[in-house]
């Protein structure tokens, strides 16, 4: 009775294993093989803050041009982390993470950042846009004429920046003692 039960269990397990093996093979192939074989020309969009189009699929290779956020590109093939794309009339390589198949809204850098700060009443608030922060901190005056009440001296700063500095000599100078 018990032996029979064991064989039944074994056959059950065997079928399960087969199922799992097929499943994992499918999973693996979907990850590595299928995208390479069945790569199609697809429209993608540059996301993030923009992307540098390169001649070869390597970070060291020559920069062809800089694509701005939201640029429509035609994706051709994948090689590791790189995507071969056509942008306008130029063909080059982009990092895979820099493009997406969802159209990207073009927005300015400073906008849309959630920044936490304390309002004048002491309450902690969360703001969505940079302009709102500027408003709360009282940074922009309504007429926008006199930006800062303080004087500046950029000439003196440039004089200081032009003073020679030598790291090696300075380190040596520091090690000397009387």
């Amino acid at each position: 009775m018990e032996a029979l039960h064991q064989t039944q269990l074994n056959s059950f397990l065997l079928s399960k294993i087969k199922f799992v093996l097929i499943f994992s093979a499918l999973f693996l192939s979907s990850n590595f093989i299928v995208p390479v074989i069945f790569a199609k020309e697809e429209i993608r969009y540059v996301k993030g803050l923009g992307a540098v189009l390169r001649e070869q699929p390597s970070i060291q290779s020559k920069k062809l041009t800089k694509l701005s956020r939201g640029t429509k590109v035609l994706a051709l093939e994948v090689k590791g982390i790189w995507h071969k794309v056509i942008a306008g009339e130029i063909q080059g390589w982009l990092l895979r993470g820099q493009i997406t198949n969802i159209p990207v809204k073009i927005k300015k850098l400073v906008l849309g950042q959630k920044i936490r700060l304390t309002s004048s009443s002491g309450r902690r608030i969360r703001l969505r846009t940079f302009s709102a922060i500027v408003g709360v901190k009282g940074l922009v005056d309504s007429k926008g004429k006199k930006i800062s009440p303080y004087q500046t001296d950029y000439a003196a700063l440039e004089w200081l920046e032009n003073q020679p500095s030598d790291e090696e000599n300075s380190v040596l100078f520091l090690t000397l003692s009387e």
Binding site: L13, I17, L28, I115, R126, L139, S165, E167
Partner: protein
Amino acid sequence: MNLFSNHLWFYIFIISFVFASFGNAQEFRLRAHHLFWKNQEANTEREIDFGRGVSAKILGKYPILRDEGTVRYISQIGTGISAQLGRPELRYYFGILDTDEINAFAAPGGYIFVTRGALILMSNEAQLAGVLAHELAHVDQKHIVRKLKLQSTDRSVTSGIAQVLGGATLSARIALERLNDLAFKMLMEEGLSKEDEADADQKALEMLTSLGYDPQSYLDYLQSLKPYLEQGQAKVLSKTHPTIIFRYNNLREFIMKNDLENFKGKKNEKRFQKKIATL
């Protein structure tokens, strides 16, 4: 054994999943690394931009001392420290402010100023190195940038000062100018938090010992400030920094904890006096 065979299909599934994700892990790491450094660079650039604005305002308030010999000496000491213990991506500038007030300022991005009054009060090179190291610590720890909350709350790789101060529109430039004003006000009136100053003091002492300078000299310098705080010559300093007693005790504690009591470093008194004599 029974337990294992019962869950065998589950284990196989997990293992296959792990193997499947191995291939992508390396690529993902590479990409994240690339993104992170790209963003770091942008942040550093913005920080320097921001610091330039603040230092121009400092120089608008106090005139710069155009004495190339002395500036070179200060810069040699400062650069010697920063080259070994500062942030490698920055170039530090060290200037002297032509005023009798006793103070030192650090603007973000590596701009460091010491007043003539403070230099006259100092008696040896270890004290100068201590003051410069204190300001260096402010730059390295980004105290001002942090206090102004120039960092967005989400901790993603693309958040930071570049996002807040990036952009070339007029409103962005006005905002940058206003934030510069806030930083300037912080240096001149409000000051940093007590914890930040205590931290900078401890870091300064740590730098002094690792460079072979006498740490006790820095404490002596703090003590020598005392009479001037009441006179008003160090009005800004007393307004923006915690009390001398607090700072002294904090450093004493640090010395005791790290067993530095018997550490005797160099003071380079003669060299210092010779260079500072022209002031």
